[in-house]
Amino acid sequence: MARKNEHYEESLLGRLDRWTQSGESGLDQRMMDDLASPPPPAASLPQKELERRMDRDDRMKHHMLLQEQATYDRIRTWGSVRGSRFFRRAYIVLAVLFCLALIAVLLRATATLPPFGNPDNPMHNDVARRYIEDGMEETGAVNLVAGMILDYRAFDTLGESNVLFTAVCAVLILLRISKEHSDATAMLELEADDRMYEPQDDLILQTMVRLLVPLILLFGIYVILNGHISPGGGFSGGAVMGAGLILYLNAFGFEKAERFFTFRTFQTVSVISLSFYALSKSYSFFTGANHLPSIIQTGIPGKIFSAGLIPYLNIAVGLVVCCTMYALYTLFRKGDL
């Protein structure tokens, strides 16, 4: 700014301006002198009267300023007080109307759909017929849904497992608190938030967990291993096992849980499972898909070692889901694995 001023004063326009301001005559100079000197009548007035006048002027000025300020404030805060309330109400009304209109449109569309539970609906077409009538021979799985998602559409399930793994990675990036970079008091605060007001070693919970967790884990393993024979599979069994591990963690705390599940465990198990899945399915893609002969036998449907790759893929998916559930829980609770 100062630099600009200098420029201006040196420039032609600045000099012209100064010349018109001061002029050749000393008139302006005299006027300035007059203004600078104190007004003569003020000195003749008594001191008290002078103060009173000044006071009155000040108060009037102050009052006008206040009024101006209030007007400005009203205009400026309208958007955040009354205006925001007005927009909020309008938004609520519009949102409810929009949702009601959406429901009405969807209901109108639903009325034209084919009836519920009717076997002749167009969606029960040849694809479903093929899965039901030839699925058991082609995949060896008694559970046709398992045969469908782990054989016909196994790439889809690989994508799902990868979505879960990616979700854990995203949560890890967002929530992980590194122990090296945060100081001791912050860690203590986190610990207090987590466990201070909870019973530390609850005897009832620990006794029940000693009984229950082996059974829960066994049930999860059963559901995973029987995924191709009975209802179940990698996703449900993995969720059961993850829930068992979370129950164990809640009863015994992080010190004991970290003996068998750390970040390294999670990394190793997830990566090995996903790699196994990807490799075995790409093998099947190159040899078995499109009715090319496959080396892997489907076996006798109903036996535990049957259905080709499906039981192994179920195990891989189950391990990924189990690790994911446990990792998500510990990340949300402690910020670390």
Binding site: V96, V171, L174, F235
Partner: protein
């Protein structure tokens, strides 16, 4: 279509109607509530509504789940297995997405110490101005 016909048509789709109403409730919650956790709940509700709708579309009255029993492999005995597989996919993806959403909410709370989306927006604007 007259009103009576419309109602008759609707009465054949009770499962789909409940799915649509659940979807509407979820969208309303998503739009109206300022609390981030409630927004997440609304999001999960819309997910569940879509799964209910898909499962209802796959059902055929009086038939069994598609697990071969006694070697019967005929279309007339089992329901459609395709929506079941689709719903399985959807559930897994919704678990993943709600985990990421909740993690983002936790980070927002750590930064601004509030869950109100409007307050968070105004605080973020103030931060940008500084």
């Amino acid at each position: 279509m007259t009103g009576v016909h419309f109602l008759e048509d609707l009465s054949a789709h009770l499962a789909e109607i409940s799915a649509i109403i659940l979807f509407g409730i979820g969208i309303t919650l998503l739009m109206l509530s300022r609390n981030m956790i409630k927004k997440n709940i609304g999001f999960s509700m819309t997910d569940s509504a879509i799964y209910l709708f898909l499962a209802a579309k796959g059902y055929i009255s009086g038939r069994k789940a598609p697990i071969v029993v006694d070697g019967i492999e005929q279309m007339a005995y089992y329901i459609n297995p395709i929506p079941a597989g689709l719903v399985l996919t959807g559930i897994v993806v919704s678990v993943a997405s709600s985990a990421v959403l909740l993690a983002l909410t936790v980070r927002l709370y750590r930064q601004y110490h509030t869950l109100d989306i409007d307050e968070i927006t105004s605080l973020a604007q103030k931060e940008e101005e500084v």
